[in-house]
Amino acid sequence: MERSDESLIDAINKGDSEAFEKLYHRYRDWVYRLAWRFTGDENKAQDVLQETFVYVLSKVPNLHLTAKMTTFLYPAVKHISFRITEKTTHIPLEETDDEPACNIDMKVLDGQSDIGAVLAALPAKQQEVILLRYVDDFSVEEIAESLGVPAGTVKSRLNSALKRLREEPRTKKYFFE
């Protein structure tokens, strides 16, 4: 039977490096793909991957999960990607009033696909909740926890995004009447 994240973290806090290795391999690909989405660059995504798990290690022996592991990792990956991208390109990313924007790098989107083209045209915050909900399979509550915003805000952003997708001829077909 597969050990739970909580059990692995408990072992890691006691100095079990094999438990860390298991946890790393469990979330490595997700963290890497997420970083790839943010940065659009495989080398930078690997840097983000490494820094993210260095951050996890820095929390030991006081690493505690209060939510799902992905919910814990998402803000770290986002923050590190944001910093690395900003540092290496010297182009300020879009900032808004309440939180840094999350721009999916357009290089990772297949512009030929209907969904890719429509998603690219959505505001950054709407892109983010759509990706978390339908690519990463987060619940509304998990998205809220990851972004540090109320669940109502997440629903509002999802609602706005879905409305646009439903009105857009290229993505209208994904909605039942």
């Binding site: 260095v54 297949d110 209907d114 969904i115 339908y134 609602n159």
Partner: protein
């Protein structure tokens, strides 16, 4: 329930599974993570996590050892001229006011210093002689190990 919440739930109920599938397909896949990246992070974890188990001994042993070390240090210092010790220590451990392990010169020794040194070696940049942290005449992976160890060691003190 707010109006937009009802609207959202209605819209999501009308959304077909094909949307999520199509969205996942619309995102290109990167090449796999390199084995070197895996090795770096796993190696680092082994270094950091090895020590708690090594020190997972009777609790009183740690303060007792610290006290013994302090007594020994006082005894040694009392038998050494201070001026003869201090300049050598400074020369060996600090460069331009920074710890030698502080590769990025930001005033802190952390794991980013080890990563920067490892990356510098990997990219075969012009090798900085100051990066010969272990004083063996070469700048190589052993120096990265020393920096990584300094970054994650329990006392976290930078000499």
């Amino acid at each position: 329930m707010a109006n937009f919440e009802e609207q959202f739930e209605d819209l999501e109920n009308r959304l077909s599974d094909g949307f999520a599938t199509g969205l996942k397909k619309a995102i290109k896949q990167p090449k796999p993570v390199s084995p070197a990246a895996d090795e770096f992070i796993i190696g680092l974890a082994q270094k950091k996590l090895r020590r708690p188990s090594r020190f997972r001994i009777i609790r009183w042993a740690v303060p007792a050892a610290s006290a013994a070390a302090a007594i020994l240090l006082v005894a040694i210092l009392n038998n050494q001229p201070k001026q003869a010790l201090q300049p050598a220590l400074v020369k060996e451990t600090r460069v331009a006011g920074f710890a030698r392990e502080d590769i990025d010169r930001n005033g802190q020794v952390n794991i980013l210093d080890a990563m920067k040194l490892a990356k510098g070696l990997k990219q075969e940049q012009k090798i900085n002689k100051e990066w010969d942290i272990n004083n063996d005449g070469q700048v190589d992976g052993k120096d990265v190990d020393v920096v990584a160890y300094s970054a994650v060691r329990l006392d976290k003190g930078v000499m």
